[in-house]
Symmetry: C2
Subunit: 293 residues, 2 copies
């Protein structure tokens, strides 16, 4: 398994850098603080927020989790967000998705103060990203994939990058990052999706293949060019009668089949997942730095 891109190790390296910045802030009397807002008791959300809280504690960030009833009206949630925007002790705000049906997630994301939007979901931050303005916050999963590519020494400039999936959280911002002009980018980016015709052929030409399409083991061996770098962003729950819970998580890549062909590949779990949290921590520390400049 010489060709693995070890997301856990790279995330740990970034955490070490973040910890140094946290200590610098704390030595100035500033403890970076993030507030997680969780609406309802979605099991995955509970797990995610719990992991983020734990890593905050490890790195010396302060975190608070606001748990709201699953029936919370949108107006009440927005009022909470507005109050957090105004609270100078809060540097970052993360409203955990998915949200209950009565709440319009884009409206919530657009209500978070731009300079506390450590999730990078606010339209201003998305716009800055596409415009190549580095002053904004970049959403954590695509930023994490970018760091995996950079820190694994993957050549990006001029590479044929194929992104599978065009979601607002991964596919579209991922494309925006890699098509920019300048160091760490300059890729030729194609965004494929459910309506793409001949998706296999696009994949077969990719130097870097990023799978965020939400289909279990979508990427098979025949779709990967020998030597290509394969990044698996997928988190799909599939039935598994042998598991105690009756299900398990699988990625968008048929890892066992693709790993021998790929030049480099992320394991899943242990690839992109840890990076998402590492980017969230880094964004939060950056938010605190900017707010206390």
């Amino acid at each position: 398994m010489q060709n693995l891109i070890d997301g856990r190790q790279i995330a740990a390296d970034i955490h070490a850098e973040t910890r140094v910045r946290v200590e610098a802030l704390r030595s100035r009397g500033v403890t970076p603080r993030i507030v997680f807002v969780r609406v309802g008791e979605d099991p995955a959300s509970r797990v995610y927020v719990g992991m983020k809280e734990r890593i905050c504690a490890e790195l010396g960030l302060e975190s608070t989790t606001l748990v709201l009833d699953t029936a919370t009206p949108q107006a009440d949630l927005l009022a909470r967000v507005v109050a957090l925007n105004a609270d100078a002790s809060v540097h970052g705000i993360l409203v955990q998705a998915p949200l209950p049906a009565q709440i319009d997630a884009p409206t919530v994301f657009a209500t978070v103060a731009v300079d506390k939007d450590v999730d990078g979901f606010h339209p201003v931050n998305v716009g800055r990203l596409l415009l190549g303005d580095s002053s904004g916050f970049v959403s954590c999963t695509p930023a994490g994939v970018h760091e995996l590519l950079l820190r694994s020494g993957t050549p990006i400039a001029g590479a044929n990058v194929v992104i599978l999936g065009r979601g607002n959280i991964v596919g579209k911002p991922m494309a925006a990052i890699l098509m920019q002009k300048g160091p760490g980018a300059d890729a030729t980016v194609t965004v494929c999706h459910s309506r793409t015709r001949g998706i296999e052929e696009y994949c077969q030409r990719a130097d870097i293949l990023i799978a965020a399409i939400g289909v279990p083991r979508f990427v098979t061996a025949s779709m990967v060019k020998p030597g290509a770098v394969v990044i698996d962003v997928g988190v799909n729950r599939v039935a598994d009668s042998s598991a105690r819970s009756g299900s398990r998580l699988v990625g968008d890549v048929d890892f066992a089949a693709v790993q021998p062909i790929a030049g480099r590949i992320t394991p899943n779990p242990g690839g992109v997942g840890p990076m998402t949290i590492a980017m969230l921590m880094r964004n939060t520390v950056r938010a605190a730095e900017i707010q206390h400049e």
Copy 2:
């Protein structure tokens, strides 16, 4: 020349639709009004603003042009924009590029009120575009290209679209429009640029080829798949000793060579250019409609 996409005719059709909306507004006592801000005496800017003023008059929009000295400090320009933002009689604001060197254009564009940003350059509007939120203003040239494709009956869903150029005004927003989920989009989009390796091969596979790379006659016959739809966004000034001015404008496509191969092709001039103004007029009327809802 059966295969031309006649931008002048399509723009005229859109102008007719816009005029109906202008009349509806005027019957309610609202005259849509745009203010053009021109800094200095750049000859191309003078021509562009003059054309826009003329078409405003033809369609029944009111326009005012604010001409500022070429040495205007950025702070003064921003103060003017802020005053226009606050002026309820102004529905749309357009600060004409290029701007003199002492002025940072992105800062100016981000200062224009989001709901008066008829150029679609504000980061919020760019972010909305990438996120698939249709409440924003879309920048005029890519919106115009989109209308050319729609009104020429070009199949977009599932099409392999290759965009040459990744500028903030055309390439990037163009990609954002066509990769969205839904009617009029659903294309598979690749963005190529100066760092792309093997750019000819990407072009040769394109069902729709959109050239906005700023290189005179970059797209040659051998780069075009027979039957492809070719859109020429380029406006390049080249030396021409036979012209009175000593120069003339040419596009990014070698029209004479490509036209016989293409399924449909825009002339240049007479293709994208008129559409940009048509979209500006439509955006301005929409701004007035929204502000007087």
